[in-house]
Amino acid sequence: MVQVRIWGSLAAATEGQTEVEIKAGTLRELLDGLAEKYPGLRPQLKRGVSVAIDGRIYNDSWFQPIQPDSEVVLLARLKGG
């Protein structure tokens, strides 16, 4: 199981929690797990998110491994200027 931090305005879709638990060993399993457990997140997941794993930003790498004790934070999809 992995602890995932959800940003404040999405908490409405996770019964008000900003920390949720998802069974996942990779980034893909995490995203699919979130969509499965919290359908309210799907519009934002479709719009795109970035995921910080132990302080480093991942945008797309499905098979990026996630350790059970990793710090996992959901972020708005990063784009630059």
């Binding site: 940003w7 999405l10 930003i57 991942y58 200027g81």
Partner: protein, 750 residues
């Protein structure tokens, strides 16, 4: 540039990386031979021009193009009828609608039709023959006015699920970040500052207007030349708009005359392709400066409310920001990045940011260097400064006391790895600038800034020529000198002189998908791919040497530009240099290359502290920049001159944003300053030299420790200058730009 902390891969002593060689594309650029967007031509080429709405908000009832089509020399006229409707892809549908209005003209300057003719003069005359019947609607251009109950609503049904019910239809999204209990945090403070800050929309201000040339055949195959920050993005976006296969559209990036995020989308390209297909001829389109300002992505204007609590000894106990950004007529202002980055430099127990994305009748925003962050930092860094000085504390000490470090949980939720903020603050404190004497009407200001980095799709192909020179093909347009950095990293990895490598930017037919040149990612991500491509070539060259020596591949290693036996039992074969291996390549298996395709992740963040002295003329309110110093963490400066260039360029864009640049709309919703006369970017005589101090706290996610530096430098200047003016003019300016009339009025009412 000593490395400030050690880790295995970054302790090597670099031979090429860190030096200042001349860039490979320099000669063309100083002789006028370099080919930018508007320099491209083709036989039989037509000229395209766009007809733009004079109204800020109007329904397009009808467009009569018959007279224009009848004019001799006109070969094609297009309107939104010439594009197919895009279903369930709001992102692309908005881009197309912005390139060519469908039901409504959403802002002054919005494209409503376009013609292609055999000459510029005929095209201009044809535009005057197109009659558009508009039903003018009420408009709104101010971010706070746009969300009042009686404000005209631009779109139906675009508000997303994050927005509470009952709000104006112009409110598109709501973001919230942070942790802890704000009210408890603020209660623990000795003083709570509540203040609102406003900034006007500004433009990236690149000197090269948008330009492209399209050539589309009846068989659906097409070629496109354009100045862009990402020709693969242009290919994919145009393919989606035309419903064509991406492989059928080849896009070649010309040299780009500046972008800063403003050329990370398309404005002309789909229109040029449509005109080319309809006329059967190549069509060239070049924007005028007023079209660039009226109709291509400025960044958002902002309205930010801050509540900040601080103890007498300078500890921030609670921090709250409410950010309202308007990003023009379509969803997508960078308010989420403003909300995430606002308090990012600080270690806060109780922090909360709420961001609102709002639409108004203004041109569709595009990213502008660390999009969303400068406006947020202007509010936060001004508030911290005001509170610190209210307690009589040293503004640098207060920032050091609250600075985020390794292990700090950031305001956007991520726990930081090794970061360089504290190092920049200490470097600033020890720098002679901090203690230099000041005269009358002079003041010194400091501010911190931060920006993210990310990887993104990247492809590099590295080829060894028969004579042993190296060509590197990458897919990211080079704005600030990245071709030099790629050649340096390739030379470093291969152990050969920099002059032996030539790097070019290849078209979309030559490499796999590449992310846009933005997000300060190129030196990081493309550099990583270049290094991996060089390593692949080294492995192949070692294999060839092993074949020649009849020994096992594993027994060969690459040292100082040559393959050599890995140890005594591998035989005492003399080293084979790259040139020798290249000369016999066709005998040992064929041409030698290395390539690397990846979506490199693990980019680091880059922090900065800026310090600026200003002098104010008490009689006129004019603010003069006396001295400016940038302290920023680059992880590893591959080419120090171009790292300094990013620091200086970002700081000066910040100076323009702080003092003079703004979009000025009249009551009629028409842009009043669509030109470089009254959209005032800094000129050479406005500025002192911009001093730079590069810090190198390595990013563990890159073999050489590289961090992206391109964007952070625009984040601190707005606040640093405002904090300096609070000393030199004795007034706290909470609105940008700090134009002389505003500063004078503030001083007079002091």
């Amino acid at each position: 540039m000593a490395l400030d902390s050690k880790s295995d891969t970054q302790t090597r002593d670099f031979k090429v990386v860190g030096t200042r060689p001349n860039r490979p594309d320099g000669i063309d650029k100083v002789t006028g031979r370099a080919r930018f967007g508007a320099d491209i031509t083709a036989p039989g080429m037509l000229i395209g021009r766009v007809l733009r709405s004079p109204h800020a908000h109007a329904r397009i009832v009808s467009i009569d193009t018959s007279q224009a089509e009848a004019l001799a020399g006109v070969r094609a006229v297009v309107t939104s009828a010439d594009f197919n409707k895009i279903e369930d892809d709001d992102f692309t549908a908005d881009i197309l609608d912005n390139c060519m209005a469908s039901e409504k003209a959403m802002y002054d300057g919005h494209a409503v039709a376009a013609v292609a003719a055999s000459s510029e003069a005929i095209a201009k005359r044809a535009l005057k023959l197109i009659t558009v019947e508009y039903e003018v609607l009420p408009h709104v251009t101010d971010v706070d006015a746009a969300i009042t109950a009686d404000a005209p609503v631009l779109h139906e049904g675009r508000t997303d699920e994050t927005v509470p019910a009952g709000m104006s239809g112009n409110v598109i999204s709501r973001f919230e970040f942070g942790h802890g209990d704000i009210e408890a945090g603020l209660a623990a403070a000795d003083k709570v500052l509540e203040r609102s800050y406003k900034t006007e929309a500004t433009h990236q201000g690149y000197i090269e207007p948008h330009a492209c040339m399209a050539s589309m055949g009846p068989d659906g195959q097409a070629d496109l030349w354009c100045c862009t920050q990402g020709h693969y993005m242009v290919r994919n976006t145009c393919a989606a708009i035309f419903g064509m296969e991406q492989g059928q559209l080849r896009v070649t990036a010309s040299e780009i005359g500046g972008g800063f995020g403003g050329k990370t989308t398309v404005f002309l390209e789909p229109v040029a392709l449509a005109l080319s297909r309809k006329s059967g001829r190549p069509v060239k389109m070049v924007m005028s400066r007023s079209e660039v300002l009226r109709a291509t992505g400025p960044t958002a204007s902002s309205s930010v409310d801050i509540r900040l609590g601080m103890t007498k000894d300078g500890r921030i106990t609670g921090a709250r920001a409410e950010l309202r950004y308007q990003g023009g007529a379509y969803p997508g202002s960078p308010v989420e990045f403003g909300s995430m980055s606002a308090f990012a430099p600080y270690d806060l127990e109780h922090v909360k940011t709420v961001g609102w994305d709002i639409v108004t009748n203004r041109p569709k925003q595009a990213a502008y260097r660390a999009p969303g962050a400068p406006m947020a930092a202007f509010a936060v860094e001004s508030a911290i400064d005001e509170l610190a000085k209210g307690f009589g504390l040293d503004p640098l000490e207060v920032r050091l006391k609250n600075a985020a470090r390794e292990g700090t949980k950031s305001s956007y939720g991520v726990t930081y790895p090794a970061i360089g903020l504290e190092a920049t603050l200490r470097k600033a404190k020890d720098h002679p600038h901090w203690t230099a004497p000041l005269g009358p009407n002079q003041g010194r200001g400091v501010a911190c800034g931060f920006w993210f980095n990310f990887g993104g799709d990247t492809c590099v192909s590295l080829n060894i020529t028969p004579d042993g020179t190296v060509t590197v093909s990458e897919g990211n347009p080079d704005i600030g000198g990245s071709r030099a950095s790629m050649s340096m990293m390739a030379a470093e990895e291969l152990g050969i002189p920099y002059e032996k490598v030539r790097t070019i930017v290849a078209d979309t037919g030559s490499l796999g998908q590449n992310e846009v040149t933005d997000g300060s990612r190129v030196t990081f991500a493309v550099g990583l791919a270049t290094i991996e491509a060089a390593r692949a070539a080294k492995r192949e060259m070692c294999r060839r040497a092993a074949l020649v020596w009849g020994i096992d591949e594993e027994a060969v290693e690459w040292i100082d530009g040559a393959a050599q036996p890995a140890g005594p039992n591998a035989g005492d074969h003399p080293p084979m240099t790259l040139a020798e291996i290249a000369a016999t390549a066709s005998n040992t298996g064929g041409p030698i290359a290395g390539h690397h395709e990846a979506n490199p992740e693990g980019a680091g963040v880059s922090f900065a502290t800026h310090m600026v002295d200003t002098e104010v003329d008490p009689d006129t309110g004019a603010v003069k920049i006396l001295r400016y110093t940038v302290f920023q963490d680059a992880g590893k400066a591959v080419h120090p001159a171009y790292v300094e260039g990013q620091f200086q360029g970002g700081a000066v864009q910040g100076i323009g944003w702080a003092l003079n640049e703004e979009y000025i709309y009249g009551e009629d919703g028409v842009l009043q300053n669509a030109g470089f006369l009254d959209y005032r970017i800094p000129v050479a005589s406005d500025l002192p030299m911009i001093d730079t101090v590069i810090l190198e706290i390595p990013n563990p996610g890159h073999p050489y420790g590289v961090r992206g530096v391109g964007e952070t430098s625009i984040v601190p200047p707005l606040a640093a200058i405002a904090n300096s003016v609070s000393e030199s003019a004795g007034v706290r300016m909470a609105q940008l730009p700090m134009s002389p009339p505003k500063v004078l009025a503030a001083m007079q009412s002091k």
